[in-house]
């Protein structure tokens, strides 16, 4: 049994299958579509059309590189506002043509940069949360590696949310958690242990719906196990979700997210 910290390190492994590996193995006929139609084309988010077991879908995801050079080109999987706006454009296009949406998420978080702030990083994420909720075609999000905060949530307001066995999903990085709450970023490992960021924790909380299995040492060792399992779960859930009416799709998603939170009521 791996500790949360060990899982986090597996989730960050540079050899971990990235967006394009998943798309190639799980989907057919991927056609990438670019641009947000406002400003640019973010290389940290990709998306396009694909078939999943013969069904047309829109697939979108954050993209990390499998080498330092690739990572520099992909901004280490940290999206800019135009990435979120491209994702939203493709989701709304999917809704128009009644295609389901699949989002694959592996990001340390939204990019904290000057340009990103100038072009409204917060506004872009907020608009995704707002519009994803109202999209009336089935949507499934999968945290494949790191689910870093609002930058991950902006692609994860879906009917179903899965996590890979060694993926992590959290409100902030373990490093950030330690530096804010203990003023000591070096206590990252300790933070990872108490943050409850693993797939098992989040399944227990009801925040995610399914865990996709991995090779014991991580998905990079033997990715086909993960690819096959993911394909099967996506196909089955899409089949089930496709029987819902547009209103049922919205209502069930609204009720799902409405239920999140732990508080007492007198």
């Amino acid at each position: 049994m791996k500790s949360p910290y060990e899982k986090m390190m597996i989730a960050r492994n540079i050899a971990r299958p990235n967006f394009y590996s998943f798309v190639k193995a799980v989907f057919d006929d991927f056609l990438e579509l670019h641009g947000d139609r406002y400003y640019g084309d973010d290389s940290a988010i990709a998306g396009g059309l694909a078939h999943l077991e013969g069904r047309s879908v829109t697939v979108i995801g954050t993209v990390k590189g499998n080498s330092t050079n690739e990572n520099i080109q992909r901004n280490f999987g940290m999206p800019s506002p135009e990435g979120y706006r491209k994702a939203l454009r493709l989701m709304q296009q999917a809704e128009k043509f009644k295609r389901p949406v699949i989002c694959l998420i592996d990001t340390p978080g939204a990019y904290p940069g000057v340009g990103a702030e100038k072009r409204g990083q917060a506004e872009a994420i907020a608009k995704n949360l707002y519009h994803m909720m109202s999209i009336k075609t089935p949507a499934i999000s999968v945290i494949t590696g790191e689910g870093g905060s609002g930058g991950a949530l902006a692609l994860a307001v879906s009917n179903k949310v899965y996590m890979l066995e060694n993926a992590v999903y959290s409100v902030i990085s373990a490093n950030g958690f330690a530096s804010i709450l203990w003023k000591d970023a070096k206590r990252e490992k300790e933070a990872a242990e108490i943050m409850k960021m693993t797939a098992g924790d989040l399944l227990g909380f009801g925040v995610i719906d399914k865990i996709i299995p991995e090779h014991p040492e991580g998905a990079h060792v033997s990715p086909h196990i993960t690819f096959e399992a993911l394909k099967k779960e996506l196909s089955e859930d899409l089949e089930e979700l496709s029987r819902l009416t547009p209103d049922e799709i919205y209502r069930s998603k609204y009720d799902k997210f409405r239920s999140f939170g732990i508080y007492e009521e007198y």
Partner: protein, 257 residues
Amino acid sequence: MLRNMFKKTRYATIPVKPSPVIPKAPDDSERLDTASRLKQICDVNTFRPMFENIKTCNPLNFEGYEEKIAALQEKTSVTEGVTTGVCKIGGIRTCIAVMDSNFLMGSMGSVVGERLFRLFEYATENKLSVVVFCASGGARMHEGIFSLMQMAKVSAAVQKHSQAGLLYISVLTDPTTGGVTASFAMLGDIIIAEPNVLVGFAGRRVIESTINEQLPDDFQKSEFLLKHGFIDLICKRSEIKNTISKILKFHTGVIES
């Protein structure tokens, strides 16, 4: 004299007139507590709190969290990071929420999210406008993933309220950052900011360490957001009530003269 001016040493020491001592004008970026804010905005004796019965838990069993909350409840006049309720503003019945930076930096955990969610639902059912005074460091770390989920939850309620054709005014006060900016703060039909307040997504220090340089002083200030097109107007504190009243009147149909 003139020659002295060109001496290198003079550059830094040209005598500057001592600035006269001006009595300090009230600073609009000074952080207000909830009671003062409600007093400034609501018509006299019209505020009725709602959802005060929703109380904080400790979902991650984070050490010292309950004690911290209890101490803050003792120290401040509020029970959590947001106070929600109904009031009248310029005679118009309105839902109002005020976040309080004195309460764990107005951070959003489950209680803040739940109170805001219910306020928007109440407003939708009763066809009321909502005014939210944002002041927050973002998501509350102590509640982990549940804090993150409040961003989606509150945004969902905002969306439903909007779909019903109702008005939401978001007022950005010092500071509005992180997950609050990246959810309901940026979703107002009309977004007002107080002058010279901090509004942004990522923290200044995080950005500085990412890009490895110092940021200008006006970075992530209200004026910066106005310039880049992300807010509708900047409004002095003394004029906020009037401005909100005016906006509410634009949305009530026939104006009584």
